[in-house]
Symmetry: C3
């Protein structure tokens, strides 16, 4: 299942400088590619590697191509964004190797008669789909998934094995939800009465846009009264927790283990490093980037990168610095005393004739 | 399925000031409620909104009612704890909208003949219940749950889809366990021998009290020799990890992503913010409140609120402060030198005639 | 199902000082053991408890035995590593109490005809095994597991209920994977184009060695082009996230909630405390120990213990110290000014006759 370079450019755009009939089988990094691969240059630090690559062709920018000049003799595909071009080319190769699933419903699946399952959908073994759920054209619902009453899954969306998608929740088209994800569990809402907790029913939904990817074992809770909303193009990695009534703006991406507390409103085009945490009822504007392991404890109203984690050190050094951190107020006090004492000396000195 | 205000007060208590025959359909916040809703005032900051609400009735304290006076013309329900009243009223409305599940065992469920399943229990599709397990009256065990050998589930407890409840574990009555939770996996116990790890069998159980709620994808490990214990009324959010042999006191609540290491003993009426972490073999007394993203590294023997996370800053500012944190010992050294130098100067000055 | 002390020593080694025909039923800690138990001394602080124990025998080192002398009258098993001996003895007792599972495939399991299932394997209810998967001798695959196309499970490996093991992934012999774990979900890889994210297909595998244990709801992503690799003897606790293309060296152990970002290379014999985080593309050499809740933001090239978390304090104290941390640069500035001022004074003083 090889692909001609010419065909690649016909489908994905870019300008081919080289023989269009060269056949390639896949994509590999600059240093490990051989004549059956194409490769790509997206990191300028790797520019020197291009001359040595054995790949059949390199995807790169016109600017990098000019800098490299004749140091590299092979074929080139000129693209404005070589990394995005690589991603699309890789999708194309992956599609060629994918094993087509046959539409239909596995005999072990339990489907309520009132559920609407498109003819082109694939429903795997041990799946349960409850009353009034809607599974649109081209969906793939893998083994062991659970889809609750009245939930809606948009066209060409893929649930990997063992996804839980609770009653009333919705996801748009071309989504991917990975194994173990739980969408639409109850939000964590209780009223306290004399120390005991009284459950507040969670009657909102989770409403997810198009082109959203949700990682393995990630959880997104349904809203208390209103809905939890995930806009188009959001990408969530594994083990993320999104609490009830959060709103996550389009094209925001979160790495693994991020937690977002209830009713946080996060803008578009934001990124969150792994294990970043966001308190509830905050607002984060568009284009905010939170570093890994950082705790967002107040609203962020200005775009930019924000960080807050304790720097790692050898344990003995950390013990010393942590002891001082615990006593920073006394250090500040000492500095104030020094300032006062110095002022006194200066005054005395100036009094002297 | 509307409810008369009079009926609400008959069932939930409180004093109605207004027309008992007014019918309402549900509950909404002060600012979005209309004439089909009741609403509530629990946050004094929102007191001014009461005059403007379009709700059929407001739940509030006698004190707030007096302060608001005639600025609000509609019906009132006077309650000592309006937020708890709201929670109970919301439960009542939710129950009215709930779709009753028929008792019985789905044909695709696999139930060992020795398991005791109450007639009033509902067992969903693709459930497995192993030998000698006991499922009490009114339990709802949704699709895809696994209940191990000899496990016991108390009356009216609800397992959402795809809960794993391992052999020998027990949960009391009126519990809720959300999808993806794993109760009773092996604790993480190994002996080290020349660098390699030898597994210590985990033969204790997880024993859970009444009225406990456990969030989606939360894990609670079985004890090594003794049991892991979760007392009555504990509320655990999603993605929480409770290690073997922990003991969590009644009515303690933990927000998402909290982790508790082995053999920690946590008191009653505690709260833990999201992603708080607790080291093993610690004791935390009753009424301790840990802030989000804080690390508890030693026992806490005095009630109160405790916090420990690095404050978030613009990345450039964090880089500067983190560099100084790394070198706090040298800063302290400088201050000591300044103190010495100053002392010297003062001595010299005093020597001068 | 009691065991003679003599039999224990025949099977596990060590030197018995006492009556070999004494029968014991299990293992218990020093303070709770009775005459039906053996116990062990691995923590020197507990040495004084040995004299009081009611256990049938104590496992301890020759050195501790000498120190204790005649203060303890009961039987002793002398072992070089009493804690490892305890683990092995506990395994032996646990095996005696285990209920043997019958080999075979449950009638509700869905097995592709091309999958190779060893005759001695046990396949539970509602399991799905896809085409060309290989399940080796003595495997136990509990209820609700999913094993993807072409995946390989080595001999005597045990998947607890509801494990997801995706296409092409491999695990060696004598492994244990706990419920809810997801092995081989797509890594989190996207190219950004004008703010939107383009998926990079994840075509690598997860390749896991022998004697590996993986905790409940832990996730290990498949590699992007190359594989994610977990070497022999690695032990991962619950709720851990291992991103694509990580490489974890043999016998490294990680406690719950740890996160490792993509392409991190971690050495052998390392340990990670709970909720430790590792950034991507780092190298950590062998024998590195990371404390709980610590963030590894750069490579660690020297063995040792490393820590980095903000020390917990009463909330009011934390607020003060955090405010100073935010302004550490101004504190440093003040110290510099003090140094300058002091220098000036000293110069002035020295100028004076």
């Amino acid at each position: 299942m090889s692909t001609r370079l010419g065909e690649l450019v016909e489908r994905l755009g870019g300008q081919l400088m080289g023989e269009p009939n060269t056949e390639v089988l896949g994509i590999a990094p600059l240093d490990s590619a051989d004549a059956s691969h194409i490769t790509f240059l997206s990191n300028p630090k790797l520019r020197a590697q291009v001359a040595q690559t054995r790949a059949a062709a390199v995807i790169l920018t016109a600017a990098d191509s000019a800098v490299i000049g004749t140091a590299y003799k092979g074929a080139r595909i000129i693209a404005a964004n070589p990394y995005a071009y690589f991603a699309r080319a890789a999708q194309l190769f992956a599609d060629r190797h994918a094993i087509a699933q046959q539409p239909g419903i596995h005999s072990s699946a339990v489907i309520d008669p009132s559920a609407l399952i498109a003819d082109s959908a694939c429903i795997g073994s041990h799946v349960t789909i409850e009353a009034d759920a809607v599974i649109d054209e081209g969906c793939v619902i893998d083994s062991g998934c659970f889809i609750g009453r009245g939930a809606k899954v948009g066209a060409a969306t893929h649930f990997f094995a063992r996804v839980t998608f609770h009653a009333g929740c919705e996801i748009g088209r071309s989504g991917i939800v990975h194994s173990g994800a739980v969408i639409g569990a109850d939000g964590f809402g209780f009223a306290n009465e004399d120390g005991a907790w009284i459950k507040i029913p969670q009657t909102g939904r989770v409403v997810i846009g198009n082109d959203v990817e949700i990682g393995a074992n990630t959880t997104i809770d349904r809203g208390a009264l209103a809905d939890t909303v995930i806009e188009d193009g959001v990408k969530l990695d594994n083990q993320i927790q999104i609490a009830h009534n959060c709103h996550i703006g389009a094209h925001t991406a979160m790495a693994g283990c991020v937690g977002v507390a209830g009713s946080a409103k996060i803008g578009k085009y934001c990124t969150f490093g792994g294990a970043a945490m966001v308190l509830g009822h905050l607002t984060i504007v568009d284009h905010v980037h939170i570093s890994s392991a950082s705790m967002v404890s107040r609203s962020i109203l200005e775009p930019g990168r924000y960080t807050g984690f304790y720097p790692l050190a050898k344990n003995a050094d950390w013990e010393k610095s942590a002891a001082i951190v615990r006593n920073l107020t006394s250090m500040r006090e000492k500095i104030r005393e020094l300032e006062k004492a110095l002022k006194l000396i200066n005054e005395k000195n100036n009094e002297q004739p």
